[in-house]
């Protein structure tokens, strides 16, 4: 057992952000989710049982995500006025094509059923082992494996179906690089 070192947290921001983005399907929501996750983690000292902080952070991310979903479902829906809309954080990336690819990929992930999505994000996006992921998501390893298998299958099928002309056409502007299509 050891205490989580808060100073080690900033190094996980990028990984957690990608995981949050895949969960939410939107960069803006991902930013909020990551910030809320770190706020929770930092609210009091944390004792960890494993060596890897990422497993613990995934658990808090999951809890925060589920809480936010429940809260949002109870909240009355409002439509934002144009002046209330804040533009997304300008990206320092020199590769807007990649940002678009990632956006589309994560949007597809975010359309998965909640359980499948969490399994895929924990293992394939965050990079946890099956054991760590099953602990973080509080499910048995066998359950996680099944969910992961189905999640991957659904995504692969969706992306393949959406590809214009299929792979045989070898279109450079496929689903994952749609922004480059003429």
């Amino acid at each position: 057992m050891r205490t989580l070192d808060p100073q080690s947290l900033p190094q996980h921001v990028d990984r957690l952000y990608r995981a949050a983005w895949a969960l939410c399907g939107s960069r803006e929501d991902a930013e909020d989710l990551v910030q809320e996750t770190f706020a929770r983690v930092l609210s009091r000292p944390r004792v960890l049982h494993g060596d890897d902080d990422a497993y613990y952070l995934m658990r808090v991310l999951r809890n925060t995500f589920l809480t936010s979903l429940r809260t949002a479902s109870r909240r009355p829906q409002t439509v934002a006025a144009l002046e209330d809309v804040v533009a997304a954080d300008p990206r320092p990336t020199a590769r807007p094509d990649q940002a678009l690819e990632v956006q589309e990929l994560y949007e597809t992930v975010a359309e998965l059923p909640e359980d499948f999505r969490l399994a895929l994000v924990a293992v394939d996006v965050l990079g946890l082992s099956y054991r760590e992921a099953s602990r973080a998501l509080k499910v048995r390893e066998a359950t996680l494996t099944t969910r992961l298998f189905r999640a991957r299958k659904q995504i692969a099928r969706k992306l393949a179906v959406e590809e214009p002309g299929g792979r045989e056409g070898n279109q450079p502007g496929g689903v994952l690089s749609g922004g480059e299509s003429p």
């Binding site: 100073q7 190094q11 921001v13 393949a160 590809e163």
Partner: protein, 227 residues
Amino acid sequence: MTDTPKNPPQNEQELVELLRSVDERAPESLHTRVQAMVSERERSHTTVRGALGGMRLRLGALAAAGAAAGAALALALGGPGGAGLTLGEAAAVTLRPATLPAPSENHQRGVLNADVEGVSFPYWQDRFHWSSSGSREDVVGGRHVRTVFYSDGHGHRVGYAIVYGQPAPKMPPGQVRWREGTAYHLASVGNAQVVTWLRHGHLCVVAAEGVAPAKLLKLASFDDAGS
């Protein structure tokens, strides 16, 4: 992800490879906010510990423990001259991504064309095969810090930070190693190994993850000609 346009994955294996290849960074504003939250938490935690230590001293029941707590607090704050910059903050800067280009080599002096008030960043390529890969400038705890990053071509990265201004912020002593009359202080912050020392009165910090402390010490104590 690669620069070339991708075809959609045709099977689960290709999908997994695609998902794992995404290296999109979080926005800098989010990094800044998280760093600020961590610093705030550290500050408040230190304050609470200090208050508790004071209560214990007033009670007079745990004098020895109070002395130990005082020593720990002094370490956390970095000693009397350390207000404003902690070891964790200094190390965190060296682990963050580069935001500026890598400085070039100054062939005449055998250092990089980058310095902090006359203290140059070393050139490690010929001797150690670590080349400069980027740099960044930060203000941390009220101190201006310049960092140069070095890569070894095998996926390892070292951040070398020099803090502007004197006197240098005090750092916790950690394990002390002496090289050529200079004290190098070894510590670990999270998963990172950190070496701190003084060059011409300026605090220098070298830190990395996945690099052995001995290697870091060797890099840090390399006697470049440009100091």
